[in-house]
Symmetry: C3
Subunit: 311 residues, 3 copies
């Protein structure tokens, strides 16, 4: 299948069949991480640059492992000590990296729109590894992959996304991805944390968690990002936790086969009680594991593999 896009900026820009194609491709890569020799020569001689303008060890590690298991050369380029602090424009930094002939740029930034801007600036494909409050498409894809693995389908499922929708790029990618594949998405949180008009993305809104729980097939608990000032939108984390945290008592109201998800890192005792995080309903670590498989598939597809598959 030939992808309609050069770069992966967000799930909003992909068709349903493109998303499904990426999920299918991911399946074939998952098995590699279970082999005694977890390495295939697929991307040997390809250069992948992790251009992380916003620091992130976890996502960077997932991409780096994915790249190395495909035999790519992975270069970490962090902005803190880079030319960006010397007055160079972002587009000049990207053009400079492009001149070194990488096959793919993986871009994370605190500002929304940077991956798209850079994708327009350079011929090299760009994978968005999270940009501001915009999208985090690889997270959206691994969430889809994880739900599909457990539920064998996406269409017809009810997904609740709970927490700080306003500041969450994960929420946006999940809303786009799950809606496109036919799930019914409800976002849940305090009014200060739900942007007005979010329904236009194709989801429902609830300011109360309790009525949503019994209906949900999947509950995605978002992280309260205290390090980014989320505290300003809350009276206190204790009060947040009382109204929007998931504990064993609330979990009793849920379906017996509900999936509890979280993009991590978890604030135990805030979004999730430890008992819920470690319960059999939680597929949080499956998400992390599937992240490597999904990213392997995306590295393969956006380094030219999509064209080969279509041929």
């Amino acid at each position: 299948m030939k992808l309609s896009v050069k770069s992966l900026i967000g799930l909003s820009g992909l068709s349903r069949s493109e998303i499904e194609f990426m999920l299918e491709q991911s399946e074939s890569f998952k098995e590699i991480s279970y082999r005694p020799i977890k390495k295939v020569p697929t991307l040997r001689g390809k250069t992948i640059i992790n251009l992380f303008i916003e620091p992130s060890t976890r996502t960077r590690t997932s991409f780096e492992i994915a790249g190395k298991r495909l035999s790519a050369d992975v270069i970490n380029f962090s902005a803190s000590s880079s030319s960006l602090t010397k007055g160079e424009t972002l587009t000049d930094t990207a053009k400079n990296l492009e001149a070194m002939k990488p096959d793919l740029l993986i871009v994370r930034s605190q500002a929304a729109g940077v991956p798209e801007l850079l994708s327009r600036t350079v011929a090299t494909p760009v994978l968005n590894a999270g940009d501001g409050f915009h999208e985090h498409p690889t997270q959206g894809l691994l969430d889809l992959f994880t739900v599909r693995e457990h539920k064998k389908k996406i269409a017809g499922l009810k997904l609740a996304i709970v927490g700080d929708i306003y500041h969450s790029r994960v929420a946006r990618s999940d809303i786009y991805g799950f809606s496109k594949l036919g799930a019914e998405v409800t976002v849940v949180g305090p009014p200060t944390m739900i942007p007005s008009g979010i329904e236009q993305l194709g989801c429902k809104v609830s300011y109360h968690l309790d009525p949503v729980i019994p209906e949900a097939d999947v509950i995605m608990m978002l992280r309260i990002q205290l390090e980014r000032g989320a505290g300003n939108f809350l009276p206190s984390t204790r009060e947040y936790s009382r109204f929007y945290g998931l504990n064993l008592k609330r979990l009793e109201q849920a379906k017996k086969d509900v999936l509890i998800m979280h993009p991590g890192p978890v604030n135990r005792g805030v979004e999730l009680s430890p008992e819920v995080a470690d319960s059999s309903y939680s597929v949080i670590l499956d998400q992390v594991e599937n992240g490597v498989a999904v990213r392997m598939a995306l590295l393969y597809l956006f380094c030219g593999g999509a064209d080969e598959v279509s041929a």
Copy 2:
């Protein structure tokens, strides 16, 4: 030989024969670093994560070189920019990394007990690269290896460990390792820097350096870690140096074949005079070189090689 442990937390948990087995294995890896092509395919397709919660360039570099010479994929995960700063618990960080299917976690931490805690948390084997004031077992093993290389034996030798015993994980690993292999260990330092009851680990104590020197076959000079507040335990580094520093005059009292060792980095003029550090008695750079060989052996053994050897 099948190791009795999944992880290498400390030399205190190993038997004499296990330590000797590791030293023998290390010998066969040393030669690789002298080849024109310093690389063997032993760990191809294995993923090793350097989880360094406490920064350390030197030890991290030694492990990274060891891993790459065995063809492993080595991922550096430093805590400063990681999820640990976002409120995630250490065990959750380890479980997240485990979900990415590494074959080995190399853990360094400022707090004692972290490698053991993580080893109990995850199924992945853990190598302790130094934890607080507890142990630094790979340093202990490379010290044993270096002495054995020069003296052809450990049993019966007299080892003096000089300096800040209290805050030294190297001292603890050396006491365990050299004692188990039959050496006689004496720790030497000012009373503020020797914990009471240390004799129970199987060593002697001396508050004076001069009477110990003529007896010693090996003198291990510890680093005064000024950056960790060691100055609070000393009147001054000049006074420390006068009573516990090794200079040419003191060296004259030593055996003609004494070995001078130091785990590095050396404070020249504090623990050792420059003349002693650079003398023919000094095997400090041998220690660094052997560190790569010992770590290659340990990476091999704890990535499953021990079982193969036993089969």
Copy 3:
């Protein structure tokens, strides 16, 4: 050809034929970055350490990509978290790294002379990746390579180097390199930024840009390094830009085939107007691209390839 030097400290220490040999070698490496599989086994099993005492993401990335495309193991060793902050001397750090048997040290430092000092300290070859205000020989070589690629020669060309000559290691390497190969070099800048006596390096001096432009075949615009205090040598960047910045109006006075160069990162609107930076005269991105090829050649030659070629 057998090189006369173990290490590459500066272009001042090389003969004309050695520089030409390096440029010729670089040509054969450039094509590798255009292949679908950008990797050759030339340096498989070699260990290269990037010892960057002064941080630099761009140059480090260029060297890292060069090393990986040659299949070398590249280890990044940054000084900020290293033993250098613990009181170890630089020469001890280098000797420690040498004990781990690397094949090459790439050294960048804020202080002039560090690469030479370390090259005298260890047997391992050293490549200077920029030292203080002294030299940046790989930049000088990639500048020569880029000019030669476009002009088919160096001898007889007129090169103007414009800006803060005083603080520029790039200027020094370019003066040495272009002079040795027969170009006529003029340095241009305000009197506060041109060291007295610079003519002794074999260049002319002009305090005015306008009379130099019509004569020049190549105009090398240097970066005003505001982050290093260059502002103290200028009334204001606006005034600097008015007298020494290159804009379209000034460019009209230049030869029709003039080359505009810049070592990057560019301060758009200070040294160069955006229109000039993006004009067809600009070969700034060619410089970046050629940097990878030149560094591949140098890694090859200083890891022993020069001897093989001569044999």
